[in-house]
Each structure stands twice: as C-alpha cells, then as structure tokens.
C-alpha cells in the first residue's frame, strides 16, 4: 500500500464513517457507544486522550486518525535534557491551515503531554516546557487541513548529581 | 577410588564436626557493646566535623534490627557502622594535610 493509497483509503474510511454517523444521528440511535467527539474539534478538555497510556492511542482519542511523518514539521528539542522536570520543547511548521498542535512523550506514564487549539490567524508554532520521566521519543503532531503530520526526536533524560 | 573421591571422604567428617557445634546467636549485650563502639567512633568523626550519612543509616538499621529482636543482624549493622565511622575519622585525619596537594598553584 503506497502512502497515497493509504491516504486515499483513510479519507474514504473517514467519509464512510462520517456518512454513517450522520445517518445514525438522523435515526436518533447515536447514543449507543456515542462516537467520541474529537476533542480537538471543540473546547472541552480532552480527558479521554490524556488518560491513554501509549502515544498511538492518545492520538486516536484526540484526533481519530493517524499522523504521517513530515519534514515540514520542525520539532526543536534538546539532545540531552538538562533536567527531566523542565524540558524546553517547541515546534514550528510551514504547513498551512493548522488547527491543532500536540506534544507526546512516548515513555511517560501518559503519552499526551499537551495539546493546543490554533484558531485561524494564530501562527502554527508553540514553545513550552514539559516533564519527561526518562529517555524517550518526543513527538510533535500538527493538524493541518484536516490531516495529521508529525516529527519525532529522542531526548535523553537521566538524573543528575553524584549519588546521595 | 579416584583422587577426587578420596579427598571428598576426608572433608566429609570435617563438615559434620563443624555443624555439630552450634554458632552462638548474638545477644542483646553483644549488640549494646557493638553499638556503643560504633557510636563512639561516629562521635569522634563528629568532633572532626566529618561524619558520613551512611554511618548514620547503618546505626539506625542496627537499632531497628535490635528492636525487632534480630540481634545477629543488629550486631552486623553496628559493626558496619563502626567500620564506616572509623573510615570517616581516618579520612578527616589524613585530609588534614592531603588537601594542600590539590590547591591550584
């Protein structure tokens, strides 16, 4: 499956699901296992996504789709964190029509660290300081034009000092 | 009978003899003596302003074991504390001169 097919089938699946949802909503039977309203779309704190352990599950819960790696997403993270409690991470992108940006730390107890809603007119770049339990891959997700793009870097983390 | 088995036959009685005499379990008095010695050494280190945190931990472990009635463990911990305290005293005394060699000239 070349990426293009993958993308095509992904959107096809989405479209079908969308149609399905509309049809069911029409019939008023939506309440069974309500479709998770994708948090990124509204302002409610995405509790479900923050509860997920792994990054893939968190991305699924947050956006309902998977991301593809893109060199248009510039993730800036230290090679060795000076301290796991304060790791300065920032992302910027040349992608247009960006609606959401998120940061995930794969090996943290809960992968999703932070998620930002980017309204129209706001620049697609965010800097923040996050906590990392240990050496881990850090991923930045950018939602642009309804599709997800990502960049990942490994950040080494360990304790400091000589013993105690 | 190969050499190996002959040696074995000799050592066997030796083991049985040792096992026969029970090793005396430490008692409360043993613990008190060991703890006092360790505490004294640690106080000396204190006078030299050079105690170690691990000595204090060993002393508390000794007391905890003694309170729980495990005097073997208590004496062992007290002995360890004494060794650590003595090492810290040795360190303080030897450093009285040794530090001069490290100074940036």
């Amino acid at each position: 499956m070349t990426p293009i097919d993958h993308q095509f089938s992904a959107t096809r699946r989405l479209v079908l699901k969308g149609v399905g949802v509309v049809a069911l909503a029409g019939l008023g039977v939506l309440r069974f296992g309500a479709m998770p309203a994708f948090a990124a779309a509204n302002d409610k704190w995405p509790e479900e996504a923050f509860k997920q352990k792994g990054a893939p599950e968190a991305i699924k819960a947050l956006y309902g789709k998977t991301a593809e790696v893109s060199d248009k997403v510039k993730l800036d993270a230290p090679e060795i964190a000076e301290n796991g409690a304060v790791v300065p991470i920032s992302v910027t992108t040349t992608l247009t029509d960006v609606t959401s940006i998120s940061f995930l730390v794969a090996d943290n107890p809960n992968a999703l660290a932070a998620s930002y809603i980017i309204p129209a007119g706001t620049m697609p770049s965010v800097a923040n300081r996050i906590k990392m339990a240990k050496t881990s891959n850090v991923t930045a997700i950018v939602e642009a034009g309804g599709k997800l793009y990502s960049a990942t870097k490994e950040v080494k983390v360990t304790v400091g000092g000589c013993g105690g | 009978m190969t050499i190996f088995s002959r040696k074995l036959t000799v050592t066997l009685p030796l083991f049985t003899m040792l096992a026969a005499t029970p090793v005396l379990a430490a008692t409360d008095t043993d613990f008190k003596a060991a703890y006092a010695a360790a505490d004294a050494a640690n106080k000396e280190a204190g006078a030299l302003r050079n105690q170690w945190t691990v000595t204090a931990t060993a002393l508390t472990n000794a007391k905890k074991a003694a309170d729980a009635g495990d005097f073997d463990k208590a004496v062992a911990a007290a002995k360890e504390a004494e060794a650590l305290a003595k090492a810290s005293v040795f360190q303080a005394k030897s450093e009285k001169e040794a530090w001069k060699a490290e100074v940036i000239h």
Binding site: A81, E82 | G46, A58, W99
Partner: protein, 284 residues
Amino acid sequence: MRTAIQIILTALALVTVASGAPAHAADSVDPVADANAFQKYFTAKFPKLKLSDFVNGPYSMNEDMHRQWVEKEEFPPYDFALDAGKEMFEKPFKNGKSYADCFANGGIGVRQNYPYFDEKEGKVVTLELALNRCREANGEAPFSYVKDDMASLTAYMAFTSRGKPFDIKIPNDPRALAAFENGKEYFYTRRGQLNFSCASCHVQNPGQRIRAEILAPALGILNAMPIYRSEWGGMGTISRRFVTCNTQTRGVPLEPQSDEYRDLEYYLSYVSNGLPISGPGARP
C-alpha cells in the same frame, strides 16, 4: 557494603602516600596570589570563554545546555521568587523599620560586597546571615537558610546588583586571613563516603558530565546565587547548595551558616573578584 569501605580505605591510603611527596611552600597566606592563580587556571583551561562567561556555570560549558538555558531565560522560573523578594524587602517590619535600614545604600546594589569580614566580631558575615540578623534586630523571627523566604530576599538583592563585579575585601587582619585559609581548606578537603572535595568536581572536572548534569567551574560559581534549580523545582540559597552538595558525597552536612560554610563562601567569592553578579540564576 564491606568491600566499599575497603576500596575507600585503600584509596585514602594511596592519596596520602602520593600527596606526601611534593614539598608544600611555607604556609604564608597570600589571597591575591591565590586569586590570580585560581583565575589563570580556569582561563587557561577554557581559553575560549570570557571571564564573565564563567558566571553561567554549566551553560558556558556545553552548547546544548546553553540553548536550553537561553530558552528558559526568556521567561525564567525564578521570576516569582524575584517579585516575592521585592515585595518582602519593601514591606516594613512590625516596628516600622525595614531591611533598607540595615544595609548600606538601602540594600540596593550591595550584594557584590558580601560576604565581608566583620573586624569587630572577627568573623565572616554573609548576606544570608546579615538578613537574618536584621530581622532579629527588628524583633522578627529569622528565616530558614535553606527555604524560599531567604531565597526570595537574596534573589531580589542579587538582582539589584546584576552586572556589578564581585568586590570582596580581606582586611589586613590575621583573623580575616585565617578565615580565608579555612575556607580554602574546606574547598579542597575530601569528604563523604564518595571521598570527593569541592575541587574534585569543580576544579578537576568542570564541563564533564556527572550523570545528566554538566559540572560548573568553581570560578564564578556563586555569582548566580540564589538559583532556581529544575531538580528542586524551586529556589535554593547558597546554604542549601552547600548542604545538598555534602549529602551527595554522603557526607553529613554542617549547620547552615556555620563557620566552615561562611569561610568557604568568603574564599570562593574572593577568588571570583571582578566577575559580574548574575543572580538570581536558573540551573538544571
């Protein structure tokens, strides 16, 4: 544990044998020569650094760390302590007086003169000690030397001295020279089960990593005090830093502001004369 003690004992024995050899110059105390030798050692070891760079400690030793520091300094975490310190400094005591009455120039821009040698008392007086003495003289309870209140006050006073070079004086008083020498001895004396002295890390290994952290050079190491450490998630005074360093080498720390610590601060500040105050600082 027993083998650990054996190793330490043998290491100690080796050190004493090795160090016995070089004859040590007559024991005259010459602070000026000490300070020059101290600064020359570090400028030779790090020729690319300007003298003032040394006050940034680990961040002048490593590019990746420097970048993380610059990002943090955009909006530093010690901002809250700084504001709290200013508020506390300006709030009068119950008796109407305030800190400004205890310090020259109202306490503004004076941090670089601390610690100083008090010839009446014959002892080194550090900024933290002076602050608590001011509180007690005005009927207020002293602050803990290792907690946030003292850190906020010293943060504000350091901030008012930013950029001013350290200007520590040693009066021609044998007790002052003795205090300086006592501080130097503490700095180079190995202690704790790990058998490290301050010099083992900050003279012999600045720029090296000790697990995640990069060791700061001893030159200028107090210029950024008090510091907000990510490791502590909070502010730390010079007292707190000395106490935690001792504990890390498994040495039992002394009382904060005890003679050895104040003399150590006297020595370390004097040999950093001329380097600018950059406190409060952020550190890993």
